[in-house]
Amino acid sequence: MAIEVRIPTILRQHTDGQKAVEAKGDTLAELFADLETRHAGIQARIVDGGELRRFVNVYLNDEDVRFLDGISTKVADGDNVTILPAVAGGMA
């Protein structure tokens, strides 16, 4: 068993176009490091300076991980993780 990670369109250039990939790890940080070993470049699109990028949303089983433990959130086999860039902007 592994953890399914759903990849947004903008990051599928790192996954050969795949919408979902599998990864392993005990925390999100480990999961993203594991993803990086097979999908070079993806980690830096999600993580910056050891934290989740402000405008990238990560959900664990549909819950925004900012309301859990952020990048230290624990994950387990059978969980699913969804990555979605924020839709944001404005004149500021």
Binding site: Y59, D64, R66, L84, P85, A86, V87, A88, A92
Partner: protein
């Protein structure tokens, strides 16, 4: 070029007008690969700000799930500028993550004079902005 129905165009403008002085935002989804905006989905601006917009994170997840289930994509991503022209700001450009989408900007800057609402469309790909023609039609 963005081809959009008069009805959708008017819904976007009405949403921008209604939320003024805050920025309004939303999506018009369409069948994946068609480039045809069909389903109007106004979104809540979680920032509730006159100078910033951000889709609420739970709403965002629900939106993308729903589009995925229906085999749709965000054909148009729109938002309003409330005090400046309808042109992508630096912020808009740095957070633009849908290279396949038409980014529609509506300016409500002249809303008090009830003047014409600017309605412009752009592609934003890897930080590069290209304005495109907007063709408003009665039906597709």
């Amino acid at each position: 070029m963005l081809t959009i129905t008069q009805a959708l165009h008017d819904q976007i403008v009405a949403h921008a007008r209604q939320d003024h002085p805050d920025e309004a935002c939303g999506v018009v989804a369409g069948p994946a690969g068609s480039g045809r905006p069909e389903r109007f989905i106004p979104m809540l601006n979680a920032a509730r700000s006159p100078t910033f917009y951000e889709f609420d994170s739970q709403d965002l997840l629900k939106l993308y799930r729903e589009m995925d289930d229906r085999d749709e994509e965000p054909v148009v991503i729109y938002h309003s500028h409330t005090a400046t022209e309808a042109y992508p700001s630096r912020t808009d450009i740095s957070y633009a993550n849908e290279p396949g989408a038409h980014y529609v900007l509506v300016s409500t800057a002249d809303t008090d004079g009830a003047g014409d609402f600017q309605f412009r469309s752009f592609r934003i790909v890897e930080g590069e902005v290209t304005e495109e023609e907007v063709k408003v039609v009665e039906a597709y």
